[in-house]
Symmetry: C2
Subunit: 365 residues, 2 copies
DNA sequence: CTGAAAGCGCTTACAG
DNA sequence: CTGAAAGCGCTTACAG
């Protein structure tokens, strides 16, 4: 039945009698040879059309394009890949962020790849094992990837970037500071966002504040936490190191961090957790102690994952446009212009914004 | 500096004089021709070794294998794919389950693909759009996928399965009942698990129970909910339709369902939610009403996602081994034996188990 | 057990 | 603007 649609389309008025008599058989099975033969040009010309070469007469192009459409022809990515010496696959390399983060990133990348002929291949890895770079290298090399998207924490690994550069694989790194040339970076201004959280809590009147950071080896920790601290500092609030807890971006570490902070005297009236998972842990610890949120304790998270609006009360947090980041990264990889034009001196950046919900208010006292 | 590592590796002790003089150049760039030439056999023989053909003299095989290892040769998947007329890619097709579910499924599938030379390509889709089957078909066809893994709800779509069968693409469907021949199915005994939840709550002494199901169009809804109801029934408890709420497997629908059920009189002393997200919604509704869990209300979920242990109190739930399911499905796709041997009459099955945590106890009265 | 020829569906030089 | 030849790195028949 799919045959009828194209058929009706080319029931044109006695024109182009040279085309397909009854060659219109199995859709999706046509090759470049069929297109060339039926259209009366050479393979090479068809190839030029496929690759958008300007060196094709408009009329020729139209004719070829028309037949391709009619036959539902799509060039075989494998054959093209073999000839091109690279594939039409984009790799997504990551090391154990939260499920929501991964999935959003994937959706974002796929948004950009839709109808491009490129597909997304996922490659989780364990950056704590020292042969993980080999693993990524083999992955990229064997699959002859068109490019890879690197997200924190692997995006922060200079050695990985170097290894990829050496084998000539394009990459885009998503990170909270510019670590590479502009053409290979998407930067999230985590520092500025952290500072915004600080301003917000200060403006509510909080003076006694606790901070739960991520692991020290994450760049985002330095940016989010550092931005928060310098934001407070700019408003004349100095946060004692006692009130800073190094978490692990996990729920459990959020619980532990809150247990620690809430046992302090004076007890903080607000806690900024550097991701939502840890903020959820803070909720648990607060509840266990019979503290109400936001009555006794204001909580601010980071990420704005679905979790944030599912907590009760709904979590005030920093919205990180993860999906957009994935979109941008994939798009950069697809753009035909890999040459680092001096024109694009500054890397693409995104600034997360504060979303105020119900977990924060003025302190009681 | 990475150059030094491989260099030291092949500074061999004057051995293997017949092999590569100084042909050992760029690792990963050797081709079947190099192997054939340096080893003194034909391409075809090397090809036989690659494909584990028994028609190779053991000594020849050893010789070839040794050189391949020495040169770090790996056959080009693209070239093999072109000749084989299929790729070494496995597709994962899904329609918007929770992030945790997707990610676990991906990890499971990747567990099975590790070092197999196959890669995982993700393909989310929207089964509510009527052209989604076309999308999946094009995806599978253009990429010449080796096979696809279908997870609920798309796994339950007979039309999708038919479309895939028509274009000759292998698939494995993960679903809660056997919908296809054994070789294409992984079955989760959701019914039995639902029934286990019922037995548990009954044994605690609950008589007044609420049920929040998934959307009717999901097969899992019928199995989980139906299993629960028949489990209660077997123990002499009849659940009035008033106490059944059709949710949407989302957090918000869990809230709505609980609002509905908790307004009933008599108020249920226990609620079974057909996934953890909805159970989390029940928590929110209960808290808003000032009801304590499990004091005033016992809650049982389904999935055992990380969320379950992050809620407070920790959620009693049914553990669904999602990662294992992904593993099994991918493994089935890789197994060389696509022929449905009558021997394997029954499909692979997995039975989720109850995990008792802190959200359930005997009713107060 | 082994190999020479042809082909998978495209593209790259090289000519015109 | 267009094309004939050779090649990308493998495999399938077909012989032996």
């Amino acid at each position: 039945m799919t045959a009828s649609t194209p058929r009706s389309r080319h029931s044109r008025t006695a024109a182009t009698p040279t085309t397909a008599p009854e060659d219109v058989v199995l859709p999706g099975k046509a090759t470049i040879n069929d297109i060339a033969r039926l259209t009366g040009v050479s393979k090479k010309t068809v190839s030029r059309v496929i690759n958008n070469s300007p060196l094709v007469h408009p009329e020729t192009r139209e004719k070829v394009l028309a037949l391709m459409k009619q036959l539902g022809y799509v060039p075989d990515p494998q054959a093209r890949g073999l000839a091109f010496r690279r594939s039409f696959l984009i790799g997504l390399v990551y090391d154990n962020p939260t499920a929501q983060f991964i999935v959003n990133m994937q959706y974002g990348a796929l948004d950009a790849l839709r109808d491009s002929g490129y597909e997304l291949v996922v490659h989780p890895c364990d950056s704590s094992k020292d042969d993980y770079i080999d693993g990524v290298r083999r992955f990229a090399q064997q699959q002859k990837l068109h490019g890879v998207i690197l997200i924190p924490r692997v995006s922060e690994d200079e050695q990985l970037a170097t290894a990829l550069r050496e084998i000539g694989v394009r990459y885009v790194r998503i990170a909270s500071i510019p670590l590479d040339e502009a053409a290979s970076m998407v930067v999230t201004h985590d520092r500025q966002a952290g500072s915004e959280a600080a301003n917000y809590l200060e403006s509510l009147g909080h003076r006694n504040i606790g901070l739960i950071t991520g692991p020290r080896r994450y760049r985002s920790t330095i940016e989010r936490g550092g931005g928060f601290l310098s934001g407070l500092d700019a408003r004349g609030i100095e946060l004692s190191p006692d009130y800073i807890y190094e978490g692990g971006y996990t729920f459990d570490s959020g619980v532990a961090g809150a247990e620690y902070l809430l046992a302090k005297s004076p007890r903080p009236t607000a806690i900024f957790a550097c991701n939502d998972e840890m903020a959820a842990g803070v909720y648990k610890a607060a509840m266990r102690r019979g503290l109400s949120i936001p009555g006794d304790l204001s909580v601010v998270g980071y990420d704005d994952s679905p979790l944030a609006s599912q907590l009760w009360p709904a979590l005030t947090t920093i919205h990180s446009p993860i999906r957009d980041l994935g979109h941008m990264a994939a798009q950069m990889l697809l753009s035909d212009d890999p040459s680092p034009t001096g024109a694009v001196a500054s890397p693409r950046t995104v600034t997360p914004r504060l979303v105020v919900r119900d977990s924060s208010q003025r302190p009681k006292g």
